[in-house]
Symmetry: C2
């Protein structure tokens, strides 16, 4: 059985002590993937942004708030893991400058310059050794399969799970699982628990070495 690093939930990037950029990721898909991985007999470490869901007690959980914090925690944990499932929806932009005090309204517009945050799945994809694997999630509002395959390649993923914004904060969803060549290995709609089982089953058949056969 494997030791799996799972990221989950959103992250937050503050403009000032009060306001932040984020998204509505609830952590429910992450929770379902954690449960499915534990059920399959793997050991799980979760790095999670601020969510209301509770992860199964058998999972080790590291709480973070920003994308940089999530990356730091993942870099520390990944070397001891067999693989990564990046379910989190980290903020991919952050303000170039964070105001020390609450920004006061002036009556005029506020120009904000956002810069990209580090990409967690891509960073771990570049650093993985030959035994390690990485699986990403791509949330796309259009050209989903095409964009997801481009992300798979850019992030050096072994598999990419594709879903749409309708999945955010919903109990049900629909996914496709893409291989590096672009083949759709599996697809399904339904409760996140069922989709999570399918993701784990696909990872197991595609990425995990078969157990040695007894003679």
């Amino acid at each position: 059985m494997a030791r799996i690093l799972i990221t989950s939930g959103p992250t937050r990037q503050y403009l000032d002590p009060v306001r932040f950029l984020s998204n509505a990721s609830s952590g429910r898909m992450g929770q379902a993937i954690v449960a499915a991985a534990l059920k399959a007999g793997h050991s799980v470490i979760v790095v999670s942004g601020p969510v209301q869901v509770r992860y199964p007690a058998a999972a080790e959980v590291i709480q973070v708030e920003t994308t940089d914090e999530m990356l730091r925690a993942c870099l520390a944990e990944f070397p001891a893991c067999d693989g990564l499932i990046g379910v989190a929806a980290p903020c991919d932009y952050k303000p170039r400058r964070v105001a020390a005090g609450k920004i006061t309204k002036t009556g005029g517009p506020l120009r904000l310059e956002l810069v990209e945050t580090p990409d967690i799945v891509a960073t771990l994809g570049q650093r993985k050794n030959r035994q390690q694997w990485t699986v990403g999630f791509a949330l796309e509002s259009s050209d989903a399969r095409f964009r997801a395959l481009a992300k798979l390649e850019a992030k050096h993923c072994d598999l990419m799970v594709v879903n749409t914004p309708a999945a955010i904060n919903a109990a049900e969803s629909s996914i496709e699982i893409l291989a590096p060549g672009g083949q759709v290995l599996a697809s399904a709609s339904g409760p996140k628990s069922r989709l999570a089982s399918l993701v784990l089953k696909t990872i197991s058949s595609q990425l995990m070495p078969a157990a040695p056969q007894q003679e």
Copy 2:
């Protein structure tokens, strides 16, 4: 007894179908104010942004997501109410343009122009009739009392409750209640339930007509 309109929680302002601006307001102070108002015998209508807390069953609740939605709901309900307690932390900036599809990362910075959202407490403060009252909350990271008094005047409030960013998403907090002249009518630290009782008690003594005395 009065009919009180209470706003609670954060609002969200989307940049695209996935990303939004918000803040960590949990709705817990709103929840405590709703409970204190009901306990004092008032009828309560809550207009709430996305929160995890549950409001008491005796309160009527209208769920909203953006600041404009919160304002619309308040404008519809306020004429039938005796007063407003604006506990919500609505997003006060929104992107000038909202992208129809998820903004794709380019590798470069993203310049965002934010414009102010309408101020709900100020709008109702301007529209209130002689019998109606409005109470605001001011969250200030510095010069709290001075800035809160300026807000009280700008927003035509009858009272202003001052707190600090440490109050966000916390069970305990500390507040001061300012009158239009700048007098500190009350101040307290402790559980939000206790602070909420103090707010309601102060509203009752300062803003509600005394019941007619029997001879």
